[in-house]
């Protein structure tokens, strides 16, 4: 429909330049974490590997309930991060507003866990903190409601590994997610209640879904949109990635996640997941890649032949990730 109020040329320019963003409005806390991660992504590409090797961890703190100067009362006013890509940030902690526009900083010079503990004890437990470890291109994210022990780990692609996202990378990305998050009970995603007895926590699937969603968002956005719990006429599916291909057509990848355990019939549970993927395609339509991802918490590391055959027959990629507890 042609626009009556907007200059179409300018409006399309804006739409092309701005990233798509998530489907729901973000909270202040999510916006802050997103702003920091966006700055870090740029910063990583402007700092050389040797520079990063020599740098101490640095942190960003945000509180929606305190003025910036109250977050770090003994800090000094610093230039905002918007224009400073090569800020000397090593070993410093920064109290920031959204968009990192107003900054108060203080030198701390401790390791990442020391910085997080200092933030929790000094600034207060109800603040949001992101501590970045330059040597590992890794950020630890502490949300206001969480303790320092419950930090989310965000890995950043370095210059060497960064490339344009397309669906052909998804298979490798899922393998990498499994390797780092779910392959063992010591991996980032802590889903085991009693690992030695292979007893899962109650909401293991929700936890894996949340972690995978965050992982995919860091890698895919802004080149694509990642959302979850997409409701269709026939039910809902877990994760969806939407992107525009080179011809500017919309493509989507559907990921249905199932945790297989001894608690229920793994075969039926996995086939139900396959049905959910097919229901999405039959109701919403569109083209793209479909995945059934089974996170396997059973005692035996073995494919379920019926599920593999059914996936092959339906053109759905079957991934089974065995979760070790040894």
């Amino acid at each position: 429909m042609p626009s009556e109020l907007l200059d179409p040329k300018l409006a399309v320019e804006v739409l092309q330049k701005e990233e798509y963003g998530p489907d729901e409005a973000m909270s202040e806390e999510d916006t802050f974490i997103d702003d920091v991660c966006e700055w870090l992504r740029d910063w990583i590409h402007s700092a050389s590997e040797s520079e990063r090797e020599q740098m101490e961890p640095f942190g960003f703190v945000f509180s929606g309930e305190k003025l910036t100067k109250e977050v770090l009362p003994d800090g000094e006013q610093a230039p905002h991060f918007r224009s400073l890509k090569t800020n000397n940030v090593s070993g410093t902690v920064h109290a920031c507003t959204l968009k990192l526009k107003s900054v108060v900083r203080r030198t701390l010079g401790v390791d990442a866990s020391g910085m997080l503990l200092w933030i929790q004890q000094t600034v207060g437990p109800d603040c949001t903190a992101v501590v970045f470890v330059p040597r590992e291109s890794k950020a630890l994210v502490k949300r206001a409601a969480d303790d320092v022990d419950e930090c989310q780990v965000v890995l950043f692609a370095t210059q060497k590994s960064q490339q344009v996202f397309d669906f052909s990378q998804l298979d490798t990305m899922l393998d990498r997610f499994h390797q780092e998050w779910t392959s063992s009970h010591m991996a980032y995603c802590r889903v085991w209640k009693t690992a030695s007895k292979r007893i899962l926590k109650e909401y293991a699937e929700v936890q894996i879904q949340g972690n995978l969603l965050a992982y995919l968002r860091w890698f895919v956005q802004p080149q694509g949109l990642v959302d979850e719990e997409i409701v269709t006429r026939k039910g809902r599916t877990d994760i969806r990635i939407v992107r525009l291909n080179q011809r500017k057509d919309v493509e989507s990848a559907i990921l249905e996640l199932k945790v297989l355990s001894h608690k229920r019939d793994a075969r039926l549970w996995a086939l139900e997941g396959l049905q959910q993927v097919q229901d999405y395609r039959s109701t919403i339509g569109g083209s793209g890649e479909d995945y059934l991802c089974c996170f396997d918490a059973r005692t035996t590391d073995q494919d379920i032949p019926d599920v593999v055959t059914a996936c092959n027959g339906a053109g759905v990629n079957h991934k089974r990730f065995y979760m070790e507890t040894n």
């Binding site: 739409l15 905002h80 949109l225």
Partner: protein, 216 residues
């Protein structure tokens, strides 16, 4: 009596709305807020409140010689400063125009922050308006530094060609809310399956206004 009751509610409405704008401005890094920016933020929140299904304290704006202006709000800002809920910057004469005026800056005080923290826990309305004002200020903060005023003055409701200086521009009715209509047009222009959320729409609109200001 009924009129007095409504008036009292309106006063509370405006007072809280202004405090929430100052909180949003602080979180978006726009604080301290100079008087011209404060009135523009108030105007934009008034004209765009419907995007967030909120009822704004005012549905008109005075096209003052120095931009959007709300005489009552100016008094309220000053009253809040006296009450200690708003910090006032240094007062100075602005002689850059033919009519010299007193300039200052507003920012939320510690007491104001504490009050809003308390109200956000107690009031759903407060929480919802807080989300709106923060999103709007964050959208304004995406505009290049120093370009905010020119950008906001391009708002489609405010910049209507018929509205000359000292005109009151109403936007009570849907057909008068050109800003909101323009925002909805972004939804039509976006590719299918990729519908911007309301937070994103505010940002798109401000970036669009920035482009319009640049083009002039």
């Amino acid at each position: 009596m009924e009129t007095e009751g409504r008036s009292a509610i309106r006063n509370e409405h405006t007072t809280l709305w202004l405090l929430l704008i100052l909180r949003g401005a602080h979180l978006a890094g726009l604080a301290p807020v100079a008087v011209p920016l404060a009135h523009r933020l108030l105007f934009l929140t008034n004209s765009l409140a419907h995007v967030y299904q909120q009822v704004a304290p005012s549905d008109f704006v005075l096209k003052h010689r120095r931009g959007p202006y709300y005489p009552d709000a100016q008094f309220t800002f000053e009253r809040l400063a006296v009450q200690g809920l708003v910090d006032l910057g240094p007062l100075r004469w602005d002689r850059s125009h033919s009519f010299p005026e007193i300039e200052t800056e507003f920012s939320l005080s510690h007491a104001g922050t504490e009050l809003l923290k308390h109200l956000a826990n107690a009031s759903r309305w407060c929480n919802e308006v807080m989300a709106f004002t923060t999103d709007l200020c964050a959208a304004v903060a995406t505009v290049e530094d120093g370009e905010e005023i020119e950008t906001m003055d391009e708002d489609l409701t405010y910049a209507q060609s018929w509205a000359k200086q000292n005109t009151v521009i109403p936007f009570r009715y849907e057909e008068q809310r050109l800003s909101g209509q323009a925002i909805r047009e972004f939804t039509n222009l976006a590719p299918d399956s990729l519908q911007p959320n309301r937070q994103h729409l505010l940002r798109l609109y401000l970036k669009y206004l920035e482009k319009v200001a640049d083009a002039e």
